[in-house]
Symmetry: C2
Subunit: 234 residues, 2 copies
């Protein structure tokens, strides 16, 4: 048990508070003393205590409301953070060589499901790409991508034969909103062939839609090779 002493940093205070929560000195649902009181106890200032409590609240341990005070959350809704790396980085950081191949490139009117999903006017032309990402010689990810060219200059002239749309978009088009889903899909014949799997095999899949200030930019379906796990620690 950390004992309060003078000159405690906001980190120290965080730790003490966490300890007290763990040791049920401040049990779930209970109210913490006010910032002012804590500042006095720790011979610190309200600013410092504030930072400690604010961060703990962000991390999901506490709930804070003006006037109501700071409360210990009973079920710490801890949040899992997943970095969303570029495939390229994910592969190279793993020590493998990254290799990319463009499978198909077409421009076609947005199919109905895509219009609905991304809120694109019916029949608007979109750029459709299919690509493969390899880790060394092993297939790593099969990518099906739709790009709305309207608000993206040059995208129709971009050359995606030697580097992926991901790289290009990251460089050229920032996004303001993103929806990311993870799900399990069943490999169809085509996906199975690209990923070196059997048709019907379960495939870990990510769907990623981005917008730039309300304008839909791109939708990507990313099919990961069998055995893929998305892991995080905290």
């Amino acid at each position: 048990m950390a004992a309060p002493r003078a000159n405690m940093s906001y980190r120290d205070i965080k730790q003490v508070v966490l300890d007290r929560i763990h040791n049920k000195i401040w049990p779930p649902d209970s109210l913490l003393p006010s910032e002012t009181d804590l500042a006095e106890e720790f011979s610190s200032t309200r600013t410092t205590v504030n930072r400690a409590l604010r961060e703990l609240a962000e991390e999901g341990y506490l709930e804070r409301k003006r006037k109501a005070g700071t409360r210990v959350l009973n079920a710490p809704v801890r949040k899992a953070q997943f970095a969303i790396p570029l495939v390229r980085d994910e592969i190279t950081e793993n020590g493998s060589e990254y290799r990319y191949a463009l499978v198909e490139r077409t421009v076609l009117p947005a199919p109905a499901w895509l219009s609905a999903r991304m809120d694109i006017p019916q029949g608007r032309d979109v750029l459709h790409l299919r690509c493969m990402h390899y880790a060394g010689n092993a297939p790593f990810q099969y990518e099906i991508r739709w790009i709305v060219p309207d608000s993206i200059p040059d995208v129709l002239e971009a050359d995606f034969s030697s580097s992926g749309p991901n790289d290009w978009l990251v460089q050229k088009v920032p996004f303001t909103n993103l929806e990311l889903s993870f799900l399990a899909t069943k490999a169809d014949q085509s996906v199975a062939e690209f990923l070196d799997a059997q048709a019907g095999d379960p495939v870990f899949t990510a769907e990623r839609i981005t917008w730039l200030r309300g304008q839909p930019v791109t939708l990507a379906k990313l099919f990961f090779a069998p055995g893929y796990r998305m892991t995080t620690h905290l």
Copy 2:
């Protein structure tokens, strides 16, 4: 473009900085002016600018180093945050009725794979549970759980027949470390039956291991019913 004016809050400053990044006024890899300079430009104080930049760095837009300054990250490694809700909450928040059933409860020596995975001494007794979580009448999640009773008082006496181990553990046992993985698995006969699926169907699966100060606490495999998506926005 937000124009700098007096009395800008740290939120305003964040927005201006973000705008400038988006508009390539501060392109990727470039160095921002120092906090002192920005404070002057925004007729604010270093403290306020500091908070704005610190948060933007946390959000993955900037990289900050003492003396080196603040730099714009070229590939904004934005981080996806997933709340890890209790199944119960996930179901009730969806408007459905939560129902729980215990399928099996045994105490047995830890199998080898579990010992290895969680770093438990070979042959140590562990508690093994299988449970079902329903949303209304529809199967929602099939849970296979292993609990290391060593450091958890009362767990062997706990009654898991009417409420799940998740609820119990959350109440009784805090954790300090967590490993969370998402993957796609193939439903075996048993999983398929519980989830009302066909054997061989792809199943979105989460694996969750927790520790308390280095001691392994519990491993859960959570199999979600067909059609499940884990979604986040940012």
